[in-house]
Symmetry: C2
Subunit: 358 residues, 2 copies
Amino acid sequence: MSSEDMHRFGADQLHEQIVAVLRAWGMPGEPAAATATVMVETDLSGVDSHGVSMLMMYEKLRSEDRLKLDAVPRVVRDAPAFAVVDAGAGLGHPAGLHALELAIGKAAVCGIGAVAVGNSHHLGALGHYVRSAAQRGLVALMTTTTRTPVVAALGGTTPILGTNPIAFAAPRAGGGELVVDMSTSVVAMNKVKAYALSGRDLPVGWVSDRSGDPVTDAALAYSLLTTHAATLTPLGGSSSETGGHKGFGLSLMVNVLSAAFSGGALPFDDADSDNLGHFVLVIDPTRVAEGGETARYVDDLVRLLVRDEPHVILPGGPEAAARAARGRDGIPIPENLLEQLRGICGRAGTEMILTPLA
Amino acid sequence: MSSEDMHRFGADQLHEQIVAVLRAWGMPGEPAAATATVMVETDLSGVDSHGVSMLMMYEKLRSEDRLKLDAVPRVVRDAPAFAVVDAGAGLGHPAGLHALELAIGKAAVCGIGAVAVGNSHHLGALGHYVRSAAQRGLVALMTTTTRTPVVAALGGTTPILGTNPIAFAAPRAGGGELVVDMSTSVVAMNKVKAYALSGRDLPVGWVSDRSGDPVTDAALAYSLLTTHAATLTPLGGSSSETGGHKGFGLSLMVNVLSAAFSGGALPFDDADSDNLGHFVLVIDPTRVAEGGETARYVDDLVRLLVRDEPHVILPGGPEAAARAARGRDGIPIPENLLEQLRGICGRAGTEMILTPLA
């Protein structure tokens, strides 16, 4: 079934459905609504792997008592421009939003503010958080560790590092934002999964087995990755000649920023929670530059990049296009995901309210 | 002449020589000594392209009256954890060091501190700055814009962005630092130059002409790059399939951080100075984490990466090896560079004191 054949659903109804499930799982109303907003925005932006489709993973973590839906994020260290938050083994979304607001408040006073979050779980797509800051005129950078060790050190074959993403956003004068949101591996895990679902072979250079040989069967590759029996190449490829040491270095940087201040897990820690770590950095340009200068610079730079260049795709461009299309036509959900959502609703004892748009 | 045949020089003597030239050019004693230290440390670390070999470029910029050797960096905006510095069209080294000290002071009070520098010039290798912060127990991140537009937007053919490097360092418990220092292009310009000097062909995928066709003749590629007639591929390659959009996004992030707060130049600005912008960020772990926790995390992570992996090259590893070898055996300087340095000394009216180690 291609995405054109899928049923489509309104963002508001999807929000309501997610809130109902989270509340049935014991999450209070306010964080449930905030979490659902992040998830729906992620689906609206076309990042299907990080939106409502994550509910199955959350259900599994909850059933294992690793994920505490009623956790309240709590500041455990506080300096004027930096705080550390303990997410209490809860979902990453409310913790990430809490950290973002804290960092914004600190940046308003100090020019810059940062918050490291520990003892957390999956928080969706980082792009949502930094974009929301840029919509408020702020510059934001965010990183997180991820759950499954898949990337090896350059020259090694043991999967140690996650796909460790980094996101950055800045406001553009005249409206809109520059948004960068990327894993530091050559592709994110969901891309491998998407190839598997559509039966396409992976390009050589994405996934290698533990002997270093390429794995191009996407379904096999995904299965090997999730069981630590294969590695995902860092951004830049598997050799220094193509810059693989740079992707490896970026992944280390993300890992340190995200977890080294907040007591986040090392890879393969056998903790009670996933203990993911996040890092949020916010700069308030009104405190450090002439009024509007920063947003004007960003806009001028972007205009320079696309001038006379019809084929340029700006970072964040595909997501903005998806938001326009899905905001108008609804969010496509494949039948197998709908079926899984029905199961979740049933087990949670809440009604399945999703009905396709006409 | 291979590097084994080159004459080698002691670091202290090289430092003295650089100070003499900078002072003859009108730079006061303290910034001259500090600049020479950065340059010699860069040569010691094996990053030959960014050390003493840059004196020719500085001489040229000075002769064009673009570079002001007697400039004094000056804080023009100041918030508790963020400042903006005007480098006064001076060399980037004293401005970068000034910014680093400012950021360190702010981090000691606020947990984090950042400084953006504008109206600056080349500042050497970023790795030196962040490593020196990590040696003081701090975590540091640094970015800069660069002089020559060489990288196009993904899908475009006009060179707009510089090689826009990013560097990151963190202390390791038990001594040593994790240091990442990388351009956000597939290779730095100096790598293309090095291939040209040694007569090797470039790998396909590094440089393309304005039609998008690969240029593998290294001398031709370097010449085309310096005249905006070719482009250097972003980290990740020239297609989204290999992650080229990620290197492009990182380059944009570096450009915005480095220049958007400090009034740095847009590419192709025809300003009086190069007007490069730098960005320095420092986190003081003692303000935000349990004592020693951050350095312990970094060390544990690095140990995990190399455990049972004999072939792993850690970021910063080659530079550390070069520092050990060159600290012992001296810094190799090829004859043609020595000849150029003789010319510089002659024109500056200062003695050439460099004498090879026995």
